[in-house]
Structure formats: C-alpha cells, structure tokens
C-alpha cells in the first residue's frame, strides 16, 4: 500500500518532454560532430600543408646547394630543360700530396696520370674504384705559370683506378688515383704543385617524372664510380607536369637556352599534399604550396 502510494506519487516524463530532450540531444550531438569533423579536417589540412612545405624546403635546401657550385661556362651543365637539369655535382675536396705531373715540355697534355691525394679527404668520402662502366670524376687544379692568373684552371679527368696502398711524399696515408686527364691547356713543369686542390664530382640529373602512382616527383639520378643510381624520387608529390620549373638566365639577366651561358637559375617548386583534403567550400582536393628562388652560380669564371 505504501509502495503503490509512492509509485503513484512519482511523476514520469511525458512524450513531449522526451521529444524535446531527444531533439535537443540530437542538435547537441550534431553540433559536436560538426565541430569534431571541422576540426579534424582542419587538423588534417594543416598536417598536409606542413608536409608539403617540408617537402618544398627540402628541395630548396638540396638543389641550390648543388646548383650554386656550378661553373656553367666550363661545362658543368650537361643538359637542361624546364623540368630537368643534368649537372656536375661537387662532392669531394682533396689535396694532392705528391707532385703528380712530371716536368714536361709545353704542349697538349691528354693522357693517363697518377696523383696521390691525402687521406682522409678534406671534405667528402674517398674516391671509389670504377665498376668498369662508371667512373668517379675529378678536377685537378693547374696553376700553370705561377706569376699569372690567366692560365689558371681545373683539369677534368676520370678516375680509372684507385689504390690506397700508396702514401704521400711525407709518408702519411694517401689514396692514389689513376686519372685520365683531359687538359685543355699546355702542361707546364710544376703547373700542378704539391698541395694542389682536387675536387671530385658526380653527374647528377634532377628531373620531374610521373611515377607509377600517377603522381609527379622530383627524381635524382647519380652517376659515379659505384654505378648509376636512380631515378629515385626525392621530393614530392608535386603539382603535375609543372611541379618543377627551371628557368635559365645569362649574365645580362635574359633567358638563355645555352648551358654555357647560364649565370643564374630560377627555380619554382610546386608541391602537392600526399592525400586529398577538404578545401574551402565543398571541394575536396590536394593541398598545394609553392616556393620560388633564384640561384646565382658562384663558380662561373671571373675573367
């Protein structure tokens, strides 16, 4: 009796109350969900944006570093187009620790010579033995007549043999390189002095290539004593066939198509996000960012 009386005294929810509560809860849930989704999209878009920008910055750190060191007038640009460039990319700095070139009468001086460079190299890794097809390449400083500058230059050559069994004149560790020299100027006795710098380089191609996933990437292909590597995707994905744009300028600032006349290289990288994100409005697509810079070649001849 007492229980019945208590039950009768309790007041339940009416249908109207329930409906109102359900509607309010639905509105609240919808609002929370909307905020959640918006924030998630925002977060995702931000992450993609950061990813793209990181890609672009990596490109802007790697490419200018190689391009700045070019001497275009002396053939460091092997091939160039709007989306690709093949260059001699400097990799090593060494020091000759024996007198490599004997005193020979002046005259054209092509041929195979041996030089010994000090170990370890001043910068970069040691030279590699050729694999039969591919070679490491070097420039050897030729001072020529020490009293004048006009005959100074670098002799290009390729390393056909490497031996670490030969030491320097002073007995310290060395690495002997047998170099097929292609000297553009006559050889003078003492023209390559003890201590002459040697710069090693490899041939590198940076090119925009569409990969199997249909996306576009900046690829790198290297050619040195250990062989040809690549093309390997380095930066990307990029914004289609215009993801990389090289523009070549001569010393007067005009666009040029002649590799030997290049004094500056304009570089535009247009990156694209890995995944599609919600763009402003109802659109869904790839997030795109771009960076542009102009690189002045530091090693072009000065006179």
């Amino acid at each position: 009796m007492q229980l019945l009386s208590r039950a009768a005294g309790r007041r339940g929810y009416t249908m109207v109350e329930l409906m109102i509560a359900l509607i309010m809860a639905s509105v609240l849930c919808f609002a929370v969900l909307k905020i959640f989704m918006t924030t998630q999209r925002f977060s995702d878009a931000l992450a993609q944006k950061v990813d793209v920008q990181q890609n672009l910055r990596a490109a802007m750190a790697i490419l200018p570093s190689d391009l700045r060191q070019l001497d275009a007038a002396d053939g460091d640009i092997k091939a160039m187009s709007a989306t690709s460039i093949t260059i001699r990319a400097m990799r090593q700095v060494g020091v000759v620790c024996t007198v490599p070139i004997p005193a020979l009468p002046a005259g054209p001086f092509p041929g195979v010579k041996t030089i010994v460079v000090r170990r370890p190299l001043y910068s970069g890794s040691l030279f590699q033995a050729p694999n039969g097809v591919n070679y490491d390449s070097v420039f050897v400083w030729n001072e020529g007549n020490s009293a004048i500058r006009t005959d100074d230059g670098w002799w290009p050559g390729r390393v056909t043999l490497v031996s670490s069994a030969v030491n320097c004149l002073d007995g310290s560790p060395g690495q002997q390189l047998t170099v097929s020299v292609n000297a553009p100027v006559p050889n003078l006795a003492g023209g390559v002095p003890l201590g002459a710098p040697v710069r090693g380089f490899e041939t590198v191609t940076y090119s925009l290539i569409q990969a199997a996933d249909t996306r576009w990437y900046l690829n790198i292909t290297t050619n040195n004593g250990s062989g040809t590597t690549g093309p390997t995707p380095m930066i990307g994905p990029l914004a289609g066939g215009t993801g990389v744009a090289f523009t070549y300028f001569n010393s007067a600032g005009a666009v040029t198509a002649v590799p030997a006349q290049v004094a500056q290289i304009g570089l535009v990288i247009r990156g694209q996000s890995l995944r599609q994100v919600h763009l402003p409005g109802p659109m869904v697509g790839f997030k795109a960012e771009s960076l542009a810079t102009t690189i002045t070649l530091r090693n072009n001849p000065r006179f």
């Binding site: 809860a25 609240l28 849930c29 929370v32 905020i35 959640f36 924030t39 998630q40 925002f42 977060s43 931000l46 992450a47 944006k49 950061v50 920008q53 990181q54 910055r57 750190a61 570093s65 700045r68 060191q69 001497d71 007038a73 002396d74 400097m90 990799r91 700095v93 020091v95 000090r118 001043y122 910068s123 970069g124 420039f139 400083w141 001072e143 020490s146 009293a147 004048i148 500058r149 100074d152 230059g153 670098w154 002073d170 310290s172 003492g190 002095p193 003890l194 201590g195 002459a196 710098p197 710069r199 530091r298 090693n299 072009n300 001849p301 000065r302 006179f303």
Partner: protein, 389 residues
C-alpha cells in the same frame, strides 16, 4: 516545499553536463593537435630562417677574412697539413649582430689557400633554439696573387749609370740563394742592366753580365717603376708592413726563443731562412720624397720601397726587390749585396759616389718568394666556392 524540491532535483538524471565535458575534451584535443601542428610549422620556418642567416654570416665571414688578409702572418705559413699550416680565425661577431663566424685558413700551396668558415646565428648562441640550432660551413679556395712586378733585369735604371772602375757586379744569371731550401733550379737568365737609352750604362768593364748584358727599352717610363700590373707603387707603399722616415738603419732579425718579434728594424732573416724570422718578408716603405736614407749594414728580405735617395755605407744584404724612386749610391765601405732585383728610377751610380763594392744578382727564387709573401688574396678564376661537408 523546499525539502521536496531538493529531493526532486537530486533524483533527475540529465546528460547535458556529460555531453559538454566530452565535447570539451574532444575539441580541446583537436585544438591542441592543431596548435602542435602550428608550432611545428613555426619551428620549421624559424629553422629555415636561422639556416639562411648562418649562410649569410659564413659568406660574410669568408669575405671579411679576404678583406683583412694578414699577408705577413698568413703567407708565411707552412704547407698543409704540417704544423703551422693552419691559422685559426677567431669567433667574430658580425657587424649587424646577427651571429658569429669563425674557422681556419689553411695554406695548400705557396699560393693556394683554403678558407674553412662556419657561421652560427645569434639565436643559436643565445640558447633560444631547441637542439643545436643552425650553422653553415662553407669553403673558399683562394689564390694569393704574387706582386706582379715586371722584372726583366738584375738592375733596372731610369737614368744613366757610370760603373767606373769599382768592384760592381751586376749579373742577370739566375742565382739560387745559398741555404734556401726548395728553390727550383736556376732558370732562364735575364739581362744584367735594363736601361732606356743606349749608352745609359757606361764604363762597365765587364761587370755587367746577362742575356743580354744591357737591355735597352726605349718605351721605359715612370710606370716601369710605379705601376705593377694592377698594383700601383703608392698603393703598395701605403699598405707597407713597416713605414719609416728617412734616417740611418741597420736592420737585423729580432726574436725571442723561436718567436719572431715584429719591429721596424726587423726585415726578416734571409741568412737564416729556417730561423724564427725566416718567413718574415715585410714591405718596408721609407717615405718623404727628397729625403735620404742610409743603410749602414744588416740584412733583410721582402720589398724595400724608398721614396727619396738611398745611400749604402756598410755591408748590407738584401733578398727580394728594392725600388728606389730617387738616387742610389754607396760611400766608402758600402757594399750592398742584393739577391733578387734592383730598380732605381733616378740613378746616380757615379764613380765618385760609388766608393765601395756592389753585387746585384738576379734571383728568381728570392723574387718569387717575396712576391708570394707580400701578395694579396684573389678569388680563383673558377670553382673556388665550396660547400664543405
């Protein structure tokens, strides 16, 4: 009434509070994620900016080292990698306060140097960066351009000289100085005396030898004595290591233990090339055109520039290049010995004035070392700029 109402409130089970709390947690987490992404973005941007600053600092440091090149201490270093072949460039703050640069200068050959510079931006130094901050390392291969003096004879004169009967020997044969190691073998001989007009060198009686003994250059003028390639006499004099007024001097090497002591009368030690002052090749400039400077003895090496007249009254030995704008003469007991070359614009080597001996020997080695030692750094024709790893 109040009691019943309170009971009723306690018994109601709502979900608004829970929903709000859950929503706040979810939204907070997402905002935190977005914030973190933003912070990451900001850090990457700052890192890039620091790196750019470091690059600028490094390049500026390299150029500053070139501008303030200390030829006396740098050009005389030994060859890399022996002791004394590398000179430290102390950490130096950039004028704009954006950071510091420092590194080393290594001498690779007699003329080739490698500048190895690292720049660090100021925020890295102040500890405001997370991690190690930004730094950039660059190299510059540079070449010291030897002083481009066109020497074509052991002695070049701008006015007639009368050797008379004194013991004066002027030889264009290439002499390798005794005791100087690593000099190349004697090279092509030069003329003994180079003069403007035939007959300017008189009464030699065989003291002048060379190929030829006398070289006549009708086009010779004041630029022969005052302009050396792109370097002018006045510029060389203004940048001289030692500036002197006319007077009497007897230079001699000065050192404490194994350390050479710079001083106005320390002109290096050509007679002890391996001694403490063996690498000292100062450019000595005696100013005051019209004045007279007397060398009573001693020895030295390098470049000696005399605006006025030069009188030698003792046994003075010099290795390198002497350029006298005025007249040169000797008195009784004066016996100069020069290995290198002598250029006198207004010669007065008259018999009456020339009471002592004189030995003027062309030496390619002495000249080349002098040229190298006092040369100024220049950029290589190409490929001097290096990104060091």
């Amino acid at each position: 009434m109040l009691g019943r109402g309170a009971v009723r409130l306690r018994n109601e089970h709502g979900m608004a509070l829970a929903t709000v709390i859950i929503s706040l947690v979810v939204i907070g987490a997402l905002v935190a994620a977005a914030l973190m992404v933003g912070i990451q973005e900001q850090r990457m941007s700052e890192s890039t900016r620091w790196l750019r600053k470091s690059s600028g600092l490094t390049e500026g440091g390299v150029n500053e080292v070139l501008r303030a090149w200390d030829a006396q201490n740098t050009n005389g270093m030994t060859l890399y990698p022996t002791a004394g072949s590398t000179m430290a460039v102390a950490q130096t703050a950039s004028p704009s306060g954006t950071g510091v640069y420092g590194g080393t200068v290594a001498k690779l050959t007699d003329q080739i140097y490698l500048l190895d510079m690292t720049g660090r931006d100021s925020s890295t130094l102040n500890g405001r960066n997370r991690g190690d901050g930004a730094r950039q390392r660059l190299g510059l291969i540079t070449r010291v351009l030897p002083l481009p003096v066109d020497v074509q004879a052991a002695m070049t004169i701008g006015a007639p000289v009368n050797f008379g009967g004194g013991n004066v020997f002027v030889q264009g044969t290439d002499h390798v100085p005794a005791g100087w190691a690593n000099c190349p073998a004697a090279g092509t001989p030069l003329a003994g005396v180079r003069a403007k007009n035939a007959g300017d060198a008189n009464n030699s009686q065989g003291q002048m030898t060379g190929t030829p003994p006398v070289l006549i250059t009708p086009t010779m003028d004041s630029t022969t004595f005052m302009q050396y390639g792109t370097t002018a006499y006045n510029a060389l004099a203004a940048a001289a290591t030692i500036q002197l007024n006319p007077g009497s001097y007897a230079p001699a090497p000065a050192f404490v233990g194994a350390v050479c002591t710079p001083g106005n009368t320390n002109w290096g030690s050509p007679l002890a090339p391996n001694g403490p002052c063996g690498k000292r090749y100062p450019v000595v400039h005696v100013n005051n055109f019209g004045g007279t400077t007397t060398l009573t003895g001693g020895n030295g090496q390098g470049v000696l520039l005399v605006d006025g007249d030069l009188v030698i009254s003792g046994a003075f030995t010099y290795y390198g290049l002497i350029i006298v704008r005025g007249k040169m003469s000797t008195t009784a007991g004066g016996s100069p010995t020069v290995y290198g070359a002598l250029m006198v614009q207004s010669m007065n080597f008259a018999t009456t004035a020339f009471a002592g001996d004189a030995n003027i020997y062309y030496s390619a080695c002495a000249l080349q070392r002098t040229r190298d030692a006092v040369g100024s750094p220049t950029l290589l024709r190409s490929r001097g700029w290096v990104e060091l790893l």
